[in-house]
């Protein structure tokens, strides 16, 4: 079976400024795949490419063996196949948290309003925001925005969830809860998860495999399970990252 996501020789740049060259890796079905690297190395940029928000050449990014551009024009890609949690939450500020979560359900399903309301409160409860449905994004904290963003991302139970730094800005207890939720989503619903993260604790706790983006050589220098990479990698940047720079 074709991997869930396959990246072949992808190069990324802003104008003439090259961020990364020739990045290749594959994400298997049901994996928790992590994109790691130092701050500013291009993780969010890579995510933007995987989401099809920037122009991508032919057969550079494949979903289930099909080209991403084909998937997007097919129509069922956004919202149904993938869900995204942005680095800042990116809640729609003119709507309450509940409306934010409800909107994808209203637009993409034929559910009745009361069923939508139930699902919305379920999703908010899963991220620990029971009762915050009537708050506007400007009325909640940064971490709460992020959690509401997660509730919105998983509103339609997509096949793949993308997270940009899910636990940044959360306290250790909430971060741990989030890790548990991510594992649970994978185990019970079979969702494939791609996450950008800096948190070493989460990397080792939840990561099945990871890709390390190296800012110096501007390419992906390692792909593999975090534990194995720490022990066997010969790349000093990878080892330094995974051991908090203590080598």
């Amino acid at each position: 079976m074709a991997p869930k996501i396959e990246v072949c020789d992808l190069s990324m740049s802003y104008g003439s400024y090259v961020v990364m060259r020739n990045v290749s890796f594959a994400v298997q079905r049901g994996e928790i795949f992590l994109i790691v690297g130092r701050s500013g190395c291009g993780k969010s940029t890579l995510l933007r490419h995987l989401l099809g928000l920037r122009r991508i050449g032919r057969r550079k990014v494949l979903y289930d063996g099909r080209d991403i551009n084909q998937e997007i024009s097919g129509g069922d890609f956004y919202g149904k196949k993938i869900g995204v949690l942005y680095q800042s939450g990116a809640l729609w500020s003119s709507m309450t948290l509940a409306e934010n979560v409800a909107l994808p359900l209203e637009m993409h399903t034929a559910m009745e309003q009361d069923e939508i309301d139930e699902i919305v409160s379920l999703k908010l409860a899963l991220v620990g925001l029971r009762g915050f449905g009537d708050f506007y994004p400007s009325e909640v904290s940064g971490g709460m925005k992020k959690r509401a963003g997660l509730a919105r991302a998983m509103a339609l139970d997509p096949e793949i969830l993308f997270f940009d730094e899910p636990s940044a800005g959360l306290d250790p207890v909430s971060a741990r809860r989030l890790d548990d939720l991510i594992l649970e989503l994978r185990d019970s619903l079979g969702i494939t998860i791609v996450a950008v993260t800096h948190e070493l604790a989460s990397i080792f706790a939840i990561g099945t495999r990871m890709v390390y983006l190296d800012a110096e050589s501007k390419t992906a220098t390692a792909v593999g399970a975090p534990g194995e990479l720490l022990e066997t990698s010969k790349d000093k940047n990878v080892v330094a990252f995974l051991s908090r720079g203590e080598t």
Partner: protein
């Protein structure tokens, strides 16, 4: 008390820098350049030892001094030792020196000369026109889908926009139109009374307001008020990733953000324009009441005789077009916004400037077209 650094050349190959005094950002401290120059001028020096002697309190001014010395001498392969300096200072210098450099600044706004400046304006205009053309294509497709009923807009959101664009704009439109009517009639009365023709002030104000000033003034007000608000609102959404989030949730940004706004303003502009024309005529009436012997009835009859239905329609047709123009420019500038607070400001400014220019240019074009059609 100030920070001082004394340079001592010990041998042909070694030198010492003695740091003393209080090094504070608010004080006047020795600068590193003179010492660096002297050391480099000597040519033969291979190692420099930095020592502290009677060093008082210090802050980042000292760190800055040390880092500058390190950078300059390192580049010439001169070794620098500072093991006798306070441990904290050594550590901070070390931290500062191990920071990575940004190699190239992406898409940096280069500081350039006049020729490049003019060239930049050229490219800027071309890019702007190109992107606006793409935007219009998207808008056209979106509108077509909407008219065919393939997509719908969120009613609640549309109602809010409609209210904001229409009812909330009434006070400012009333005030400005009233004053414009007042001014036109004031100036005309001064001139016309010289010929004893002040009765014609009603014609002048009526035709001017219905044909030109009503829609033009509403257009200018709505550019500054609503066009700017559209650009700022959408721009802030872009900066906060909300527009990306719309796309990845499977919503088209044109359907979601642009069509309700364009529709609302295009619907409201003619109403506002008619309203503005009448308020302007009322302004003219007020000033002629005070300055001439005309009665209300005379003024109204004169206006009704002077203004024909054609003038009225000209104003309405233009205002529909202006509404479309202002809303499209506001939205397209918003969607093109960068990802920072500064970019939102730029988007807003350019929305206002471009849309005011555009409606005035369009008004001139309309004047030519209507005169050719004899309307």
């Amino acid at each position: 008390m100030t920070g001082s650094a004394a340079l001592k050349i010990k041998t042909a190959h070694t030198a010492e820098i003695i740091i003393s005094g209080t090094w504070k950002l608010r004080g006047r401290n020795d600068r590193p350049s003179a010492h660096i120059k002297k050391i480099l001028a000597k040519g033969s020096i291979a190692s420099v030892h930095i020592k502290a002697n009677n060093l008082g309190a210090w802050d980042s001014s000292l760190i800055n001094f040390l880092v500058k010395i390190f950078e300059a001498l390192d580049a010439k392969n001169i070794s620098v030792r500072m093991d006798e300096m306070p441990v904290g200072a050594c550590r901070l210098v070390q931290l500062a020196r191990t920071s990575e450099d940004a190699k190239v600044r992406p898409n940096g706004r280069a500081r350039t000369g006049t020729v490049d400046f003019i060239k930049n304006i050229g490219t800027h205009c071309r890019d702007g026109a190109e992107q606006f053309a793409f935007f219009c294509g998207d808008l056209w497709r979106g509108t077509r889908d909407f008219i065919r009923g393939k997509t719908r807009i969120r009613e609640e959101e549309f109602a809010v926009i409609l209210q904001d664009v229409g009812v909330r704009a009434l006070p400012i439109v009333t005030l400005i139109s009233f004053l414009v009517g007042l001014i036109i009639s004031f100036i005309s009365i001064l001139q016309l009374s010289k010929f004893g023709a002040s009765i014609y002030v009603a014609d002048l104000v009526g035709i001017a307001m219905m044909r030109e000033m009503g829609c033009l003034m509403t257009g200018v007000i709505m550019s500054g008020r609503t066009g700017a608000a559209f650009a700022a609102n959408i721009g802030a959404m872009v900066a906060n990733d909300e527009v990306d989030a719309l796309q990845t949730a499977g919503f088209s940004k044109v359907h979601f953000l642009v069509i309700p706004r364009v529709l609302a303003l295009t619907m409201m502009m003619p109403l506002l324009c008619v309203f503005s024309s009448f308020v302007g005529v009322f302004g003219g009436l007020c000033s002629s009441m005070f300055m001439t012997k005309l009665t209300i009835t005379q003024y109204c009859t004169q206006t009704a005789n002077a203004v024909c239905i054609g003038d009225f329609c000209v104003g309405i047709v233009k205002s529909v077009f202006f509404g479309l123009l202002i809303a499209s420019i506001g939205c397209s500038r918003g969607l093109r916004c960068g990802r920072s607070a500064e970019a939102v400001g730029l988007a807003t400014t350019s929305a206002v400037v471009v849309s005011i220019t555009a409606i005035i240019a369009a008004d001139a074009l309309f004047a030519v077209i209507f005169s050719m059609l004899n309307i």
